[in-house]
Symmetry: C3
Subunit: 344 residues, 3 copies
């Protein structure tokens, strides 16, 4: 596929500078770009981009005035990363799978299947499941009884959606993710743990993305909910009965304990952990490895274990780094004071 | 399904107060309960339950005297959670799969299969495996050569039981768990890592439960053992040659390094880690994120990294929170002392 | 299988002491060894081995002079573990699967398949994939479009290799590992996260081993690379665009954030984490639970979060353990100083 720079400028709603007829056939990063490629640079990498081999460059509008003499053809845009994403999509031919329900798939009884689906060989759809329009099921997926998959969702190979779970529209579930395994609930008597039946389900709202090996446990009763547009990275654990708000970003290897609620647009850095049964205020950011041990307010930036305001944590860390010095100072103070006391 | 409160009282071995004829058709939590539901409350939530819409409530016997005037019909029981679990089970119709060995499953040569099994389409049982009575194998399970699955065990979709591993009776293995992958063992010479063959196996004793994405590695020689009734949560790693005692609870994302032994009834909080080749005394609790770096005695409650007695850790944490203050105090002391020394 | 001790000495390139004709039929650890077994001991366990039931023992050459009177037949070797690994391999009959492409496997269109492969039933090879000579694909594996699997590699059950990924020769991918899921990349505007297409791939170089549930994300553009001979343990996360050097050892539950580069022969202890976009010098060791927050030089031994030289971390930890004492001392100093000031 080939586009002229003129066509590209239109596609990304940008402002063209230089030869509108340059032909672009691919996208690449600054160091890898070849003459037929377009690349991009943010404000800090403009000079690096000026020396690269690309055929054209996406730059932020904020530098347009200063870069009138830029040595390569440019398209100035509001958001270079977003524009680059649009072009990546345009230049990458999508993987194509045959439409329809493969005769090598297993479709249970009383299953409802929408229009325009791609159900690949070795996918397994159990009895009474509902598969929406435009859904793609890769090989070795398992869709449980009464589960529902919303329109245009993609379930990758070896992922599991257990019985009664509801997946919204345009959801992506990556390989080997497990939606709706039993929550970890037991009653213990005389050292014997007896399973509490986990008869609730999981609801993934629209536009959710679930990483490889993420596990979202089904509720004991009711639903574990992942809010609209929330994106979950690899190897994340969400305990039973959690209510995760919309627009959250949950980075790899984070664990959210059961019955925890988060507001809208919370970001959890990688390897974060929370206790259960707490409420996390919306529009907050938790640095990587935060350990959240209680309710937190709206709009905070927290770090550390136990998690606290990031600035406070930084100060604490700074002093902690110097604790060896502090111990020496205390020792010296003790000596000097003893000397003074002797004199008295 | 409908039960009278009288029938429910018998089922949970409880003491009825109020209308024995109330008809109950479901179970729910306090806030979600409708008139046909039964709910439950512990001692701290009795007044909340008094105002709910449920048709009846399970309360602890300890409050029976004080709650003679409770506004709703009550069944008083020893353990409200345990009684509720019994009712959850009774009111939730189980998912039903066709009994027998599906002709769409793959059964290898010289496989032994018991009575009353449910081997679903796309399950794979390799040569010489032994499948006990009443076992359920979901689609996309892999049971390796010579592996044995004990009676009434359930192996969920996409789980793997590698060759020679032994799974006891009434075991539950959740989706995408891997039992018996190779332990992480290498000899290194001149920077080249050579694999040490891992020819042992894994033994899951009776009544074990293994969470989604948990990985229990096979022993180098001999067996990695998970003791009777131990429950393992999602995304847990158990290294090769571990000997995990009976009745342990291992919460999500914990990692137990190779050749570690734990006694009976140990609880590991979430995201805990241990070094290898240590012995962890029985009847102990480790708080979430503990880092266990050596042998620990029986019956302890530990926290922190390195893990230590919980009280000690709390004290340390309290002082650590105030380290910024302490640094200020030391600075002041230094000033004051210098002033005093000058005077002398 | 039976070997004389003479044959064993030849096989492990060792020096025989005692009866060359002893017949050995198995290998075991010191405590489990029976008369027909050979076992091994390092320098610290020689006396323990002297009292065991084994038919023969592997000992290190370093103790040969001192152990002329050892009570059992001995083979002295340079590296006892390496020699034992060779014998483990020799005495353990390999699991045998039927060669060839099973008619129950799914082979897409225009797939290239080498000689001497073992493609088991329920393996799925998508269109245009390339399978090298001697490759083994277990049931429920998914090999994506245009993916390539190098010679003699083994892909275990339920593992996924997504489209366009390249797996080298003699690579082992354990069950439920996912190679090439989408990297975690979004642009956010007004709280809405829009997916950045992840159109790169993953390259696993020769002799790599990938643990169960490890996830190696595909690059946004270009390749995420795992260097030759690197071994990755269970539940490890490698973010998009990482360049992991050759000969690394990455222990369980470690997470390497996106675009991070490591040099050759780096060891990451278990549950380590790194930020993204950093460079980690070669020939380094990071203790378990390290948190690496910036570039690190060559040849270091680091620990802690933030990671620092191990000795420094030990000192810091030592003082931290005594922080309760330090707080007491500061309080006493304050009292004494106040008393002195009063006197003045």
């Amino acid at each position: 596929m080939i586009m002229t720079l003129q066509e590209i400028a239109v596609r990304v709603n940008g402002q063209l500078q230089g030869d509108a007829g340059v032909e672009i056939s691919g996208v690449n990063n600054i160091s890898g770009a070849q003459p037929g490629d377009i690349t991009f640079a943010d404000e800090n990498h403009v000079s690096e981009a000026a020396g690269c081999r690309a055929g054209a460059v996406l730059l932020p509008k904020s530098v347009a005035e200063a870069q009138k003499g830029f040595p390569l053809p440019v398209v100035f845009v509001e958001d270079t990363r977003a524009a680059f994403a649009i072009l990546l999509m345009a230049f990458t031919p999508p993987i194509v799978h045959e439409k329809g329900v493969s005769p090598e798939a297993h479709i249970g009884k009383d299953v409802k299947i929408g229009e325009n689906v791609t159900i690949m060989p070795m996918a397994f759809v159990d009895d009474y499941a509902v598969i929406g329009d435009g859904v793609t099921l890769y090989p070795h997926t398992y869709i449980g009884q009464y589960a529902e998959i919303g329109g245009d969702s993609i379930i990758y190979s070896n992922a599991t959606i257990r019985e009664h779970c509801k997946v919204g529209a345009r959801v992506i579930v990556h390989s080997s993710a497990v939606i709706g395994a039993d929550g970890f609930g037991f009653t213990t008597k005389d050292g014997v743990h007896t399973k509490v039946p986990q008869v609730g389900n999981v609801v993934l709202e629209d536009d959710v993305e679930i990483g490889a090996h993420a596990g979202i446990d089904r509720a004991t009763i009711g639903s574990t909910v992942i809010g609209k547009g929330t994106k979950i990275d690899n190897l994340v654990h969400i305990g039973h009965n959690c209510q995760i708000g919309p627009g959250n970003l949950i980075v790899a290897q984070t664990g959210i304990s059961g019955s925890t609620t988060s507001g809208p647009n919370v970001t959890f850095g990688g390897q974060t952990g929370t206790v259960g049964h707490i409420t996390i205020g919306g529009n907050s950011v938790f640095a990587a490895r935060s350990g959240i041990i209680g309710n937190t307010p709206e709009g905070v930036f927290y770090a550390g274990f136990p998690a606290r305001p990031h600035q406070e944590w930084l100060r604490m860390q700074a002093h902690l780094q110097k604790i060896t010095d502090m111990a020496k100072k205390v020792k010296q103070l003790e000596k000097k004071l003893a000397a003074l006391e002797k004199k008295e």
